[in-house]
């Protein structure tokens, strides 16, 4: 049951007197990046575990090991795809909504005025796919507004917008 957020059955609440802003998703390249990450990890794991099994117990054991790794990789594909699809963010007039998670569904509403700082990070893999992660920090450690897999331009735009709105609507502690 999808309560709020997500692609299908998505509910985002309109602000009174304004059109409901549409929820946005991370870049499609995020899913491509995650595919490569899973495939790479699976290849390394299959090679390593397969070789070890072949040396220890012969070819049939190696074949079984590789098959297990491949099945695990397929399961990971399915799980990660759903996870990537479930991630959405909505820029409303006064707050940012981030919805994520499949098994445990999480939805955060973070007012711009509560923002302490914005983090834009891009690891080596993310850089190879020209992606970046934006994280909004507040004074509460639990507020959790992280958006991975944004295209660089979108990440920069979001960062600037958040910074500007944060300053305009800032509220003290």
């Amino acid at each position: 049951m999808h309560l709020v957020g997500g692609r299908e059955g998505c509910t985002v609440w309109p602000m009174p007197g304004s059109a409901a802003p549409a929820p946005k998703s991370p870049s499609p390249r995020l899913w491509r990046m995650r595919r490569w990450q899973i495939a790479g990890t699976a290849a390394v794991a299959a090679l390593g575990a397969g070789t070890a099994a072949a040396l220890a117990a012969g070819a049939p054991a190696a074949a079984i090991t590789v098959a297990v790794v491949l099945v695990a990789a397929l399961a990971a594909f399915w799980f990660v795809r759903n996870r990537v699809r479930a991630w959405t963010y909505t820029e409303r007039e006064d707050d940012l909504i981030v919805a994520r998670g499949v098994l445990v569904r999480r939805l955060s509403v973070v007012p711009y005025g509560r923002m302490q700082f914005v983090d834009v990070t891009a690891g080596p893999v993310e850089r190879a796919f020209r992606l970046a992660t934006v994280k909004l920090h507040t004074a509460a450690t639990a507020s959790d507004a992280r958006i991975p897999g944004l295209e660089r331009e979108e990440a920069a735009r979001l960062r600037d917008r958040l910074a500007a709105l944060g300053e305009a609507k800032a509220a003290g502690l």
Binding site: M1, R106, S108, V109
Partner: protein, 465 residues
């Protein structure tokens, strides 16, 4: 102290002695051990004395290079010989001001002034040590400036709200220790029944546990002894301590959340503990109290007066509480009996806990984010939990296990209410010194069994007084 009023000041000349007091004792112990010839060799006394001298010289140099001044609306502290640390503490950002007197300082008539800002404890401004009277004067000046008054305004009078008799404090500490002991005895019994052979080994762990319990009990008694809570126009004042004393002053508008904790062994006695959250992590300040102590508003008290204190600190009426739907019993069988939550236009309150009941109350104008979390079991039962986060680590009111549609509606409502509350707070910033005079509102109706406040006749629903 040197310099003109308004100019740069030094700390008290005896500060190096007090600051290096602990280190000096340690060094003296080392010197004593090696001097007693246990580690029979000579010629190394030089090293010991060099060590002692280094500690003393370090403390003296630190004193020499440290200076402070109150510059209009900013407290400036400069310290450091090689790495110069110049710190500006804007008076408007003060979260709390503490006057801390460790035993040695107290014996010499000195006190440390600690200015708490939001953020980690590294952000705190610490002036160790000032003469006692100078520390109190500076505190008064800082708080007056914080409230936008002339810094020369004398410290306003106070009204004592609560104090903790020593007998009750001892009883509460024993009850806490007793619950630990009972848990351990149960574990011990299980061990005896399952594996008698391990008995000897577990017996010794029991002894070790007892030995660690004693300093814990002593520390709580020593730090919470003579606990006094007072209210004055510049905020809430807390005083406590047996050998070393601490006096905290927290401006009322800095309160992020208030929490009432009722441990299982305290409940038959009708006791509870109150905690108060101010922005900034408590951090580790050894010697004068752990993080938990730094949050204590009342270490132990009866529930009804404690309720009144909570109302006073929040300056609001409690919101009507609602219990979660019946299917929540299947998800949270051990805590369902306590679960309740509710909100009005100004505050949100959540009750959680299995054995000990925890009631958290958060003013909406301080809310940092609103979150909804739906776990797998909750989704099957169509439940969801809504968190209302305030500044700090795990400072939140939980609307646990509400029905799905209600939770979605709650997120929307709370986000909107928080926005309004925030605008009201920033738009009509509390004018200088216009904190309402001390007044104790009547005790709320409390449900006899659940201990929950009833909706009751809210005088001004939705308005923080």
């Amino acid at each position: 102290m040197t310099g003109q009023p308004g100019g740069w000041h030094r700390l008290h000349p005896l500060s190096p002695l007090v600051r290096s007091g602990r280190a000096a004792v340690g060094v003296l112990a080392i010197v004593g051990i090696s001097a007693s010839g246990q580690f029979g060799h000579d010629g190394s006394h030089l090293l010991d004395w060099a060590l002692a001298a280094a500690v003393v010289i370090g403390a003296v140099v630190n004193w020499l290079v440290t200076r402070w001044k109150l510059d209009g609306a900013t407290l400036r502290i400069e310290t450091g010989l090689l790495r110069r640390d110049s710190r500006q503490l804007p008076v408007a950002r003060i979260q709390a001001v503490d006057v801390v007197r460790p035993f040695l300082a107290r014996a010499l008539g000195l006190a440390e002034l600690r200015v708490r800002l939001a953020g980690s404890s590294h952000a705190d401004g610490r002036l160790a040590y000032l003469p006692e009277q100078a520390a109190l004067d500076l505190r008064a000046r800082l708080l007056a400036a914080h409230h936008g008054l002339d810094p020369a305004t004398p410290e306003p009078g106070e009204q004592i709200l609560a104090s903790v008799p020593t007998g009750r404090l001892v009883g509460s500490v024993l009850a806490s220790g007793a619950s630990l002991l009972i848990a351990l005895l149960v574990a011990e019994l299980v061990v005896i029944l399952v594996a008698p052979a391990v008995l000897a080994a577990s017996g010794s762990t029991f002894l070790i546990f007892l030995l660690t319990l004693v300093p814990m009990v002593w520390r709580r008694l020593a730090t919470e002894y003579g606990f006094t809570l007072a209210q004055s126009p510049d905020g809430i004042r807390i005083r406590r301590g047996l050998l070393g004393t601490v006096a905290e002053t927290i401006p009322l508008r800095r309160v992020q959340a208030v929490r009432m904790v009722e441990p299982v062994l305290w409940r038959p006695l009708g006791w509870c503990r109150l905690e108060i959250d101010v922005a900034g992590s408590p951090g580790r300040d050894h010697a004068d109290g752990s993080g938990r102590l730094r949050k204590t508003l009342l270490p132990v008290g009866h529930r009804e007066p404690a309720w009144r204190l909570m109302l006073l600190v929040m300056a609001a009426d409690p919101p009507p509480l609602v219990r979660p739907p019946g299917q929540a019993r299947r998800k949270a069988p051990l805590s369902y009996h306590f679960l309740a939550s509710g909100h009005d236009a100004a505050t949100a309150m959540g009750v959680t806990g299995r054995l000990r009941k925890v009631t958290t109350w958060v003013p909406l104008e301080k809310v940092q984010s609103v979150r909804m979390v739906t776990g797998p079991v909750q989704r099957i039962l169509s439940l969801a939990t809504v968190h209302v986060d305030a500044a700090g680590r795990r400072v939140r009111a939980e609307f646990r296990d509400r029905s799905g549609e209600e939770a979605a509606q709650l997120v929307e409502d709370l986000a909107a209410l928080c926005r309004v509350a925030r605008r009201r707070a920033t738009g009509t910033a509390i004018p200088a010194g216009a904190v309402p005079p001390p007044s104790i509102p009547p005790a709320p109706a409390i449900h006899a069994q659940s201990g929950l406040p009833l909706a009751g006749p809210a005088t001004q629903p939705g308005q923080r007084r």
